[in-house]
């Protein structure tokens, strides 16, 4: 079903070995989306801010993977994975979240009622909420859908000085990931994070250390999440309801028929 759409879809390959942690992508993202700067405290570590929030669509996680006196830094960019078959899109009761043909998962604040089921549903914990307003929106990376429509690359990809992110058609991106892993055997872990996770995502990662060490959730199912609730969607429920109706009507008819006869007898 979605394979058809993939021909149109864009994707990004993040090569974690290339990132130097300059945070240009963080700044560029804030600029393009007009997101305000936020006040952060010194916490004795380099990751800043600590997590995504309603004013931050992407951030670099600074992770030291070295042994005692020899630090080895890894810089992991976090943002929405833009699942090919997203859990949030299936969860939203009003269809405020949509998967566009070019790959972006975007949000329509005019439809949203604020039930926050998308925040619960997302396997990667990406959507964030504007808690402090009376008209709160769900906020998350939108893959710069407006830029892609204009034929531009997403802002973070454009801003990156080290060519960490490779932006192209989905199939080309997957081919490139495989090519890089095969070209230098032993350099990369033989795992493209996002190829199977959550049934496939539009943002793919390759790395030279196992992904669980970099804070990636390895428990995420390797199948599309919406498939779980297709078994319990409206059509199934309507079928069950029809069965229930027949049973109830049957019981009601038989139980009340005998009783009324008894009543007539008495």
């Amino acid at each position: 079903m979605w394979q058809e759409g993939l021909k149109m879809a864009k994707a990004v390959l993040v090569d974690i070995t290339r990132c130097i942690g300059c945070r240009s992508c963080q700044v560029a993202c804030k600029e393009w989306h007009s997101l305000p700067a936020t006040y952060e405290e010194m916490r004795g570590e380099y990751t800043n801010p600590q997590n995504l929030d309603s004013k931050c669509y992407t951030f670099i996680d600074f992770l030291d993977q070295g042994k005692e006196y020899a630090p080895v830094w890894y810089f992991v960019k976090h943002q929405c994975f833009h699942c090919i078959d997203p859990a949030c899109v299936s969860a939203c009761p009003v269809g405020a979240l949509k998967k566009l043909k070019d790959g972006a998962v975007v949000y329509d604040q005019w439809r949203c009622i604020g039930c926050r089921y998308c925040i619960i549903a997302c396997p990667f914990q990406i959507p964030k909420y504007e808690w402090d307003t009376t008209n709160p929106w769900v906020r998350k990376c939108d893959f710069c859908a407006d830029r892609i429509e204009m034929g531009l690359k997403p802002m973070c990809v454009t801003a990156c000085p080290k060519d960490v992110m490779y932006f192209d058609d989905y199939e080309k991106v997957v081919a490139e990931a495989k090519r890089r892993i095969n070209k230098e055997p032993g350099k990369y872990v033989n795992h493209i994070y996002g190829l199977e996770e959550a049934g496939g995502t539009s943002w793919l990662y390759i790395s030279d250390v196992p992904f669980e060490k970099l804070g990636f959730n390895e428990k995420v199912l390797k199948q599309p999440y919406p498939a779980i609730t297709w078994k319990h969607d409206l059509s199934t429920v309507l079928l069950e309801e029809a069965g229930l109706l027949a049973i109830l009507a049957g019981i009601a008819y038989f139980r009340n028929r005998t009783k009324s006869k008894e009543g007539q007898d008495g």
Binding site: R111, I119, I120, T134, L221, I228, A249, R255
Partner: protein
């Protein structure tokens, strides 16, 4: 209305005043929440997007209001005569329960005044969509079931009242109510089908929406039993022991079915060892399924217990506590894997307390002035 038992009861007692005060405090904080938004009033966060209002006001509230469809099934569909005397009270509880659930939902969603969107922007694949539609439709059905008693009292619109009290109409409403209840009681569990890697394996199951439905039946029967006892106390009349006995037996059977289903489900998927893991989750599970399901199930199967009002109150309360724990476990164990910490703010607690008080206050008001406990006059004696 002949005996006039209801009217003679004094309505404003000290307890009624306390309920009224708590309701008014709740309503004031509700207005405050609408004015300033979720952030200043709640301790909700990106790691705990659902809190007390969802777990208690909505999830537990809906489960406890299940007595409505359970008793109307017994009284009308199965035509068990002895339950007809409590059918009105059970329907009233369900009606008030759903009104409170709707208020709770209205306050909890981030954009309260966009509550009507699901009726126009459909996403039939969404479990949440199904819940919104079923809860609102069922509230309408309950309103239609309740309306004749109000009209009878006010003595207006007798045409509408007679129409709504016609047997075919009542049966249609009852059957529709049971179907809608099945739809959203199970869907509240179905919400968490999307959390296989977040929710603890003892609670996660691909059939958990059915366990939500079965446990709601248990909660509904226990709730109606307690209400029947307290209702008799309120009116200073004899306990209806045949009704209480039947409800106790029904609760015992419903608990047995629920207990077997859930344990078999856990056993078949090889998760038994989690029960005895000794961690917090296993202790919660043992309290929830052992203390609050197995124990009441065993004791309620005894006829001696079912004829003792204090024991009935105790074991039915235990069942209700168990169902509350089930809903809380599912919501908060899911969120515990998302990091962070949550404890409700005093405003969240005050609104929840206010909603419960408002429910009890309205209940007392309605049973005092409307014909809830009287046998309908058209019923052959």
């Amino acid at each position: 209305m002949d005996n006039g038992v209801n009217i003679k009861q004094k309505f404003f007692t000290p307890r009624t005043y306390i309920l009224l005060i708590l309701s008014v405090i709740g309503v004031i904080i509700m207005l405050y929440r609408l004015a300033v938004g979720l952030g200043p009033t709640t301790n909700l966060s990106d790691t705990h997007p659902w809190g007390l209002w969802i777990a208690f006001d909505v999830m537990t509230g809906v489960a406890l209001a299940a007595g409505g469809f359970t008793v109307t099934f017994a009284a009308y569909i199965a035509n068990w005569d002895k339950y007809k005397s409590i059918a009105r009270a059970a329907t009233l509880t369900a009606f008030l329960g759903y009104v409170l659930v709707c208020i709770g939902l209205f306050l909890d969603i981030g954009k309260p005044f966009a509550f009507w969107h699901p009726f126009f922007f459909w996403n039939p694949h969404s479990v949440m969509f199904e819940i919104v539609i079923c809860v609102t439709t069922y509230t309408t059905v309950l309103t239609l079931e309740f309306l004749p008693w109000l009209l009878e009292r006010l003595n207006i619109l007798t045409g509408l009242k007679d129409f709504l009290e016609q047997k075919p109409v009542v049966f249609c409403l009852v059957i529709l109510g049971i179907m809608l209840s099945y739809g959203h009681q199970s869907s509240l569990g179905g919400l968490f089908l999307l959390e296989p890697h977040k929710l603890h394996p003892l609670w996660y199951s691909h059939m958990m929406h059915h366990w939500f439905f079965l446990s709601a039946i248990c909660a509904g029967i226990s709730m109606v039993s307690i209400e029947t006892i307290l209702g008799a106390n309120l009116r200073n009349v004899e306990y209806e022991y045949d009704v209480l006995e039947g409800l106790g037996r029904g609760a015992s059977i419903a608990l047995l079915v629920y207990f077997i289903c859930r344990l078999v489900d856990i056993g078949v998927h090889g998760k038994i060892h989690y029960i005895f893991a000794g961690d917090a989750a296993s202790i919660l599970f043992i309290i929830e399924m052992g203390l609050c399901v197995l124990v009441p199930m065993i004791f309620l199967s005894s006829k001696t217990i079912r004829h003792s009002v204090p024991f009935l109150l105790f074991f039915h309360s235990l069942v209700i506590f168990g169902i509350l724990l089930y809903r809380f476990d599912v919501v908060f164990l899911t969120e515990s894997t998302m990091g962070g910490f949550y404890f409700p703010s005093w405003q969240e607690i005050a609104i929840s307390v206010g909603l419960v008080s408002l429910g009890l206050f309205l209940y007392k008001l309605i049973v005092t002035y409307l014909p809830i406990f009287e046998v309908p006059s058209d019923q052959p004696a």
